[in-house]
């Protein structure tokens, strides 16, 4: 089996942590809980780090098994399939949300006419090809582009310091408002859960878990920095800016005088968006193959494309509907995948450990 290294896994975690959080999210969260949204973010990220620990424990206990095999052992084939099916639906809509956010950004900045079909036609052959090539090829590509993406994000952050910024006012929103903003936008989180679906394809040596945590911390640090700098720069008008990372560059009057530096934000966001779509589609295909064992990855890709085109272009139609769908309905699915399932997996693992120790003592 073609596996990916700990470093490549870490980069996947880094890319997924940035997914859906650096463009629209800072703005929509500000509407609900002002700059205190950062506290909601810190709370969710803390939980995500715990889930990452659970993932590493599961990986340690079952180094060569995939998620379906692990779950089958503990809860039976039917429940295992239901759990994986939940992940399948989760990543299908996750891809749609990521695509929507990227589409809004490109529509705002590059092509102001509607070009949904055109974007899909240009984007999806590349994404499909990456998924068919497999996780190792993807991992190597991510490794190659990691520093480029990192420098791009840091550059956007750095430029913001050349304009007027002052710390936003914290402790303005009530705890209920903070919790609410975290709850409403929970579907934008949990992207790294794709690791559970790739679990058998990850090769981890002893002590390499630290590498994954390092990349997770880099990702979390960047997201928090983008939130803080964005709120510091725009403050009360933060709700008007839908492309946080790009807006850190664009609306600095000084830099507009020397040219369009926003091309850097554009390239960074497009690269990030492409990689995130690849990871989410790969996660969908992996769950598809685990649910429908007899079908290959190529069928999974074809099914994904058909479902995506039918649901997105025929039923959802507009990206605004996708965004409201994510905050109104998909939050329940996200609660299941982001909170309930990791706790369930942890509980099962804990039970398994207890049984093993009981067997040993007997």
């Amino acid at each position: 089996m073609k596996t990916i290294s700990a470093r490549q896994t870490g980069i996947i975690v880094f890319l997924t942590i940035l997914a859906n959080k650096i463009l629209v999210l800072p703005s929509v969260m500000y509407e609900q809980s002002k700059a205190d949204s950062i506290f909601a973010l810190i709370a969710i990220f803390s939980f995500e780090l715990l889930v990452l620990t659970i993932f590493l424990q599961v990986k340690k206990a079952h180094p060569d098994q995939n998620l379906k095999e692990i779950l089958k052992q503990k809860v039976g084939a039917v429940v295992a399939k239901i759990v994986i099916f939940a992940f399948l639906v989760f990543f299908l809509f996750k891809t749609m949300l990521t695509y929507s956010v990227l589409y809004i950004y490109l529509k705002d900045l590059v092509y102001q006419d509607e070009f949904g079909f055109l974007a899909l036609v240009c984007l999806f052959p590349v994404v499909n090809h990456a998924v068919v090539c497999g996780l190792r090829a993807m991992g190597r590509t991510f490794e190659l582009f990691y520093y480029i993406v990192l420098v791009g994000v840091l550059f956007c952050l750095g430029i913001a310091f050349f304009t007027d910024i002052s710390m936003p006012n914290f402790f303005v929103a009530s705890p209920t408002e903070i919790l609410n903003s975290g709850f409403t936008h929970i579907f934008a989180f949990g992207d790294y859960l794709a690791l559970f679906l790739f679990i058998d394809k990850i090769k981890l040596r002893k002590g390499e878990g630290k590498k994954i945590f390092f990349f997770a911390f880099v990702g979390i640090f960047l997201v928090l920095s983008i939130f803080v700098v964005f709120y510091s720069k725009y403050q009360v008008t933060a709700f008007m800016h839908n492309n946080a990372l790009a807006d850190l560059l664009i609306f600095s009057v000084q830099f507009n005088a020397i040219g369009r530096l926003d091309i850097i934000a554009m390239l960074t966001i497009m690269t990030l968006g492409l990689f995130q779509l690849e990871i989410f589609q790969a996660a969908f295909c992996e769950s598809f193959v685990q649910v429908f064992e007899k079908l290959s990855i190529k069928y999974a890709v074809a099914v994904f494309d058909v479902l995506f085109f039918v649901i997105y272009l025929v039923i959802i139609k507009k990206y605004e509907i996708m965004l409201s769908f994510a905050t109104d309905y998909l939050i329940y699915l996200a609660i299941l995948t982001n909170v309930v399932l990791p706790i369930l997996i942890y509980a099962l693992g804990h039970k398994h450990k207890k049984e093993l120790s009981n067997e040993k003592s007997d």
């Binding site: 036609v121 052959p125 090809h129 725009y234 403050q235 009360v236 009057v253």
Partner: protein, 449 residues
Amino acid sequence: MKKVINAIKKYPFILILVLILVVFTPYSLFSPGQSRKRAVVIAIGLDKIENEYEISFLTFIPSPNQEFQQSNSVVSGKGSSVSEAVLDAQLTLGKDIGLSHAKTTVVNERMLEEDISSSLDYLMRVVSLPENTVFVCTNTTAKELLMATDSLEQNLGLKLDQLVSYNANEVYITDTSLEAFYKGYYSPTKSSLIGYIEHVKEDGSQSEQGGGQNQSGSQSSGCSQETSQSTSSQGGQQGGAGSSEQNSSAGSSGQSENEKQRGSLQGQSQILNKGDAVLLRDGQKVALLDVDNLNSINLLSTKRSLDSITISDVQTEDEKNVDMTFLVKNKVVSIKTDFQNNIPLFVANINLGVQLSEIDTKAQKVKQNVQNTQITEEIAKKLEQKIKSEFSQMLQIIRENKADVIGVYDSFFTHNRKEFLKFLSSLDDRENFLNHVVFMLNLKIQQDG
């Protein structure tokens, strides 16, 4: 052929690539250029005449040539709403409008009689007017100012956004972009500052009536396309022509010499940049601030501004009753907020490093070296009096209009939040909180260097 089929089988991605090329190459080759479909707008003017909106676009039309050439033209449209007016202008242009390059947004003073944000809303949300556009107000119609701007650029190579950006960097300190306007508008104090550019016509009048005399002649109602000229990059000769035109026109206009120098004349009308600003509250104009008022606002800012202070009737060793002008070269500002007996106290400790730049003596000769003049106690006292008197004038304006543009609310909210919120809740009119704040200005004036 077999080899090709085998290669496609092995690498199906080639087929997708070929398909994309087959579909999109003819489409790209036969589709017209973007400049044919979309007009690049570099400045926008918004007027309201009775109940009708008029929107004017200063558009940039690139034309292929051996040397760089561009044509600018002002196109306008009218309608009962801003969206209708935009549509009307688009019909006139025969193109969609692209506002990504719009660097200036001009509104007529009358537009500011009611909340301007409702008029800007459509432009911001639907047609994507960038928030970093410089936002200015004018006394005549915005359309006339745009037309005058076009000629300003041709004659002097000076763009309106550059003119206002200079004000923003050196006079107002805070920028006067649309973003800055919204920051103030959505802040708890609902107050903001925007630039003010005066437009004076041939006879020196500053009337608010339309139908100005421009290079393009009289304006026509409804959709009209006016002032279409070209600018060359090898414009040395044109620059010369511009300045000579400025002199001849200056002689004919009824303005003071000072205003003539500040203003950039073109043809029959001139743009006067006095560095004034409009004080807005709830998106409505509440006062016009002059440079002295703005200097007083900037006094509390840590950034340095173009600030000169003139004091009169100073006694020196050699002369009696001389006028002295000082330039502020250095400034250290420390703001402290506190509550004493439930009274909010706003204390500004300011150290000013000033340099004497000019002495106006009653005698014919200046007997002392200006650069070596020491700041005596009397001079320091006079400077302090002058600064404090201008500060209290500014304070009176912002108190009367309940428009906190000096950051008093923010300072108290940041440093004494609990007490400040309690204080605000004790007031009948929270918006009038500035009247209850005690201001203390501690000045220390020293010779710079």
